[in-house]
Subunit: 139 residues, 2 copies
DNA sequence: CCGAATCCAGAACGATACTG
DNA sequence: CAGTATCGTTCTGGATTCGG
């Protein structure tokens, strides 16, 4: 268990560990880059919309169908936020009935990297996590 | 740019990509393991408390000083949640005045792995992210 | 020193109905 | 089909006060 220093992956010269970050700046607050980036994508639907678009360009109604339980309002709102972030592109075709397509930008695609790491951690601790989540929503 | 399939890291047999996850289950909702694990740690202070404890065992008052802007209530509450998750251990010494120490469990330490990935993504896109965060809090 | 209890403001989210 | 507007609820987090 060498998670803290992640030596295994440090072949890459530019790889930065949490310890190194804390060494540079041990005061912790909202200016922490980790806190900032997490707060941008950590709401109820953003993650799911990003994942759906990882499969490729989709229309509004396709997203609506694929993402169970999302309301039209929240879908639109989440997409608008992601567009303002520069993570999603919107293309509207001047047709009747209207057709609108959404796809990820390069920046949007880049989120796959940290999300994949989170996925593999989640799978490794899945039993624990699922139990905790159930308890959480039970409240 | 091969973020979606992360071939570079697939030397590891067990490595799972987002595409593979979506292939197994293309319906997206709150049962998605990624959504569940993210929702457990994605609140205002959890991340900062975890990071502080990555440096080692600490007392309540040390955490209070190091984490700028956190109120005693939110510190206690966040610690209690992390203890209930099994990510943090609490040791109380029967002294006067009381002394209480907190440290990470193996599960807590394991969060360093996804967090380090998020950190390196954040640093790669730092300029973009900091700008977006500023706009977000301005609202 | 450590933490519990209470009250409250604001944000996030959901349901519904409506427009081009 | 895509998106907007309005309203109401729920949840989060902050301020303050009190107790062991």
């Amino acid at each position: 268990m060498d998670a803290l220093n992640s030596e295994a992956r440090k072949e890459n010269e530019n790889y930065l560990t949490l310890q190194e970050l804390l060494h540079v700046k041990s005061d912790l607050d909202e200016s922490c880059i980790l806190h900032q980036s997490l707060s941008l994508i950590a709401d109820k639907w953003t993650l799911l919309v990003l994942m759906a678009l990882m499969q490729g360009t989709k229309r509004n109604s396709e997203l609506q169908r694929q993402i169970k339980g999302i309301s039209p309002k929240m879908l639109t709102q989440t997409l608008k936020t992601l567009i303002s972030y520069g993570m999603v592109d919107r293309k509207a075709y001047p047709e009747v009935p209207p057709r609108v397509e959404y796809c990820l930008t390069e920046f949007g695609i880049s989120t796959a990297d940290p999300l994949t790491a989170l996925l593999n951690w989640s799978v490794a601790w899945e039993e624990q996590l699922v139990k905790l989540y159930k308890e959480k929503v039970a409240r």
